[in-house]
């Protein structure tokens, strides 16, 4: 799993590249735990190169969502592959998290 970062004044974009499982999710958790993440208005997760997610990866997002909401930081996923989106759907997480098709739509939110 590689995580690339891009920042603008208000937005942090994390591009995930690889497989997010019980081994690699530790790295993502460390990134999202950094206090400066809450300085942005939006955290966008680019999932184009995210090929796999397990419950450990989902758990990282679940565990940070309330913290983000409390700090008025929007967490938005975009470019998600169908098989990864399907894992969110199986749990009903697609209804609890903001997932949009494209970066343009994520940026416009």
């Amino acid at each position: 799993m590689k995580i690339n970062q891009q920042t603008t004044e208000n937005t942090l974009t994390l591009s995930l590249d690889g497989e997010l499982d019980a081994s690699s999710s530790v790295l993502l958790d460390s990134e999202l735990t950094k206090p400066e993440v809450l300085d942005y208005k939006k955290v966008l997760i680019d999932c184009q190169r995210l090929n796999y997610i397990s419950s450990a990866g989902l758990g990282v997002f679940i565990s940070h969502l309330q913290r983000f909401q409390d700090a008025n930081v929007k967490l938005v996923f975009f470019n998600m592959q169908e098989k990864v989106h399907n894992v969110f759907e199986i749990l009903g997480l697609d209804a609890l998290m903001t997932i949009v098709p494209s970066e343009a739509e994520a940026t416009a939110l």
Partner: protein, 137 residues
């Protein structure tokens, strides 16, 4: 095609297991969605056994054996940990509550139960076997 594998209880072996299942099922031309679901269910059980049952003790091993019979995928996952999973204690998670309290875990077996057609856990002494079944199309 190789239908059995033995791995030590390191979470780095999760990728090895996923590749093993994926390679075996390549001959069955499953959809991306169904292939990913089966791989995910196996990954979740194996992760639980490595992390929770065997505490990532690399001197402990899991034995996996899989096959397809009459269009039903079956996998057996064996270990010798003293703590066996108790399916009777399973509770459906309240995801909104998980979000509220920032809970990281507790949804893996939900994925397994929702994906697979049948999930069995048996224990004889210190020997535990998990069997997962899924009709493939």
């Amino acid at each position: 095609m190789k239908n059995a594998i033995r791995i030590s209880c390191s979470r780095h072996n999760l990728k090895v297991v996923r590749d093993f299942v994926s390679a075996y099922l390549a001959a069955y031309a499953l959809s991306d969605l169904q292939l990913n679901q089966i791989i995910l269910a196996v990954d979740e059980v194996v992760a639980n056994l490595i992390i929770h049952a065997n505490h990532e003790d690399e001197s402990q091993f899991l034995n996996l054996r899989l096959g397809v019979d009459k269009q039903v995928f079956e996998i057996e996952i064996e270990d010798d940990s003293k703590s066996s999973y108790q399916p009777s204690l399973y509770k459906e998670p309240d995801l909104q509550e998980h979000i509220r309290i920032g809970k990281k875990g507790g949804v893996g077996m939900t994925l397994v139960n929702r994906i697979m057609d049948r999930v069995e856990f048996t224990t004889t002494g210190d020997h535990n076997v998990c069997r997962l079944y899924k009709r493939i199309v």
